[in-house]
């Protein structure tokens, strides 16, 4: 016990060092595996897919300090930096649904563009509204450190 303590205190300056990349991958794989077991437990009328369960799980693990940022940060940031690339197969998937597109033609594309802009703008403005209410109605603090 004492020896252990001594070792850990000796390693203290290195505490901030990132975990080896394979360990980080292992943590992601473990979370993904557990999530894939949890996800089917949700009823069909209330689906929660594996990656969403995993996102919540990793957040809870980070918030409870069971997993430290240095354990997952490097691999996680790497994956996020690749998002656009990882999404290319999904985009190319549209090749298989060109027929669906032909059915309603350009109309559907126009409505989708409108829908996307509406979701972005309406939700952003609604949030600004609620923040305004917090500040002016409840006189709450809305200052944010950038």
């Amino acid at each position: 016990m004492a020896a252990n303590k001594k070792v850990s205190s000796a390693e203290a300056p290195e505490k901030e060092q990132a975990s080896p990349i394979l360990i980080q991958m292992g943590i992601f794989a473990a979370i993904l595996f557990v999530s894939s077991l949890i996800s089917p437990l949700f009823p069909a009328s209330f689906p929660v897919p594996t990656p969403v369960v995993g996102l919540i799980l990793l957040y809870v693990l980070l918030a409870t300090h069971i997993v430290k940022l240095r354990n997952v940060e490097k691999f996680g940031d790497f994956l996020i930096s690749l998002i656009a690339f990882l999404f290319v197969p999904s985009g190319i998937q549209l090749a298989a649904s060109l027929k669906v597109l032909q059915a309603e033609g350009v109309k559907i594309i126009i409505v989708v563009i409108i829908a996307t802009i509406v979701m972005l703008v309406v939700i952003a403005y609604t949030t600004a509204g609620f923040i305004w209410i917090r500040k002016h109605v409840f006189h709450g603090n809305t200052d944010i450190d950038q």
Binding site: P47, L58, G91, L94, A115, T127
Partner: protein, 268 residues
């Protein structure tokens, strides 16, 4: 003369690819995943290169270029083989494409990291975040529904459009439940992300969305899913964190709200 050469080339390549395809179809060779992976990398790198030499012209966003170029190449190859694009896509591209696609799973989980980095904001503003997403989604649903009716979309297509605030895996079963076509829903979810990826910066500027970093993050996360979250991270840590939480919360809100909305407007 040249065209003859090209035709001869095509025939050789065609035989080689055709052999590969038949092996893929019978599951004899997993090595054919290489084609999908290689094509994805090539078209994306071409996109990055075009984006760079055009000084970041929005239509040359690597994801957009990669998608259009990839579909175009598959279309040409399918023509060369005398099959249709969808069949060729499934047999030749999908094995490799699926491998890359799979990594979206851990990548989505990874968004817990930017979310946790700004846990201070989450703790202080969780009520505003949840309320904004619920109210914002309901308003959006009305506008999208009316816009769809205005353009004369069929009931089925309208029902396929409504759940697309959620991630694809949640949106598809909900679309099916309210009388939509899950295939259209999946397509729309992808288009949402591509549109946000291509137009996000411009939209943020035009609508002055970044004046409220929390709203900017929630909006980008809802409209663009994980791709929107990556975009939000470029704006700042708060935006990235908020987009990550939006992906989770909006999916649950869609789960609960969209079926109610559908019966309210008489879609089912």
């Amino acid at each position: 003369m040249i065209s003859l050469n090209v035709a001869a080339e095509m025939a050789v390549w065609g035989k080689w690819l055709g052999d590969g395809l038949s092996k893929t179809a019978t599951g004899a060779s997993a090595g054919n995943a290489v084609f999908g992976i290689f094509l994805t990398l090539v078209v994306f790198l071409i996109g990055q290169w075009l984006f760079k030499i055009s000084n970041g012209f929005f239509i040359f966003q690597p994801l957009f270029v990669g998608m259009v170029l990839g579909i175009f190449i598959l279309f040409l190859l399918a023509k060369a083989f005398g099959t249709d694009t969808a069949t060729f896509y499934k047999s030749a591209y999908l094995p490799g494409g699926n491998i890359i696609f799979w990594f979206l799973n851990p990548a989505t989980i990874a968004f817990a990291i930017p979310l946790y980095r700004r846990n201070d904001i989450v703790k202080r503003f969780w009520l505003e975040i949840v309320l904004s997403l619920i109210v914002g989604l309901v308003i959006s649903l009305f506008i999208i529904y009316e816009a769809g009716k205005l353009f004369g979309l069929s009931k089925g297509t309208l029902a396929s459009l409504l759940p697309t605030g959620a991630t694809t895996a949640i949106a598809m079963p909900i679309a099916a439940a309210i009388g939509g076509n899950p295939a259209i829903t999946a397509m729309v979810c992808i288009l949402n992300a591509v549109i946000i990826y291509a137009l996000g910066d411009w939209l943020v500027k035009v609508f002055r969305i970044n004046n409220d970093p929390i709203g900017a993050g929630l909006g980008l996360g809802t409209a663009g899913k994980t791709v929107g979250s990556a975009k939000a991270l470029q704006l700042g840590s708060i935006q990235g964190s908020m987009a990550s939480i939006a992906v989770v919360v909006i999916s649950i809100v869609v789960d609960l709200v969209v079926p109610q909305f559908a019966s309210l407007v008489g879609l089912r």
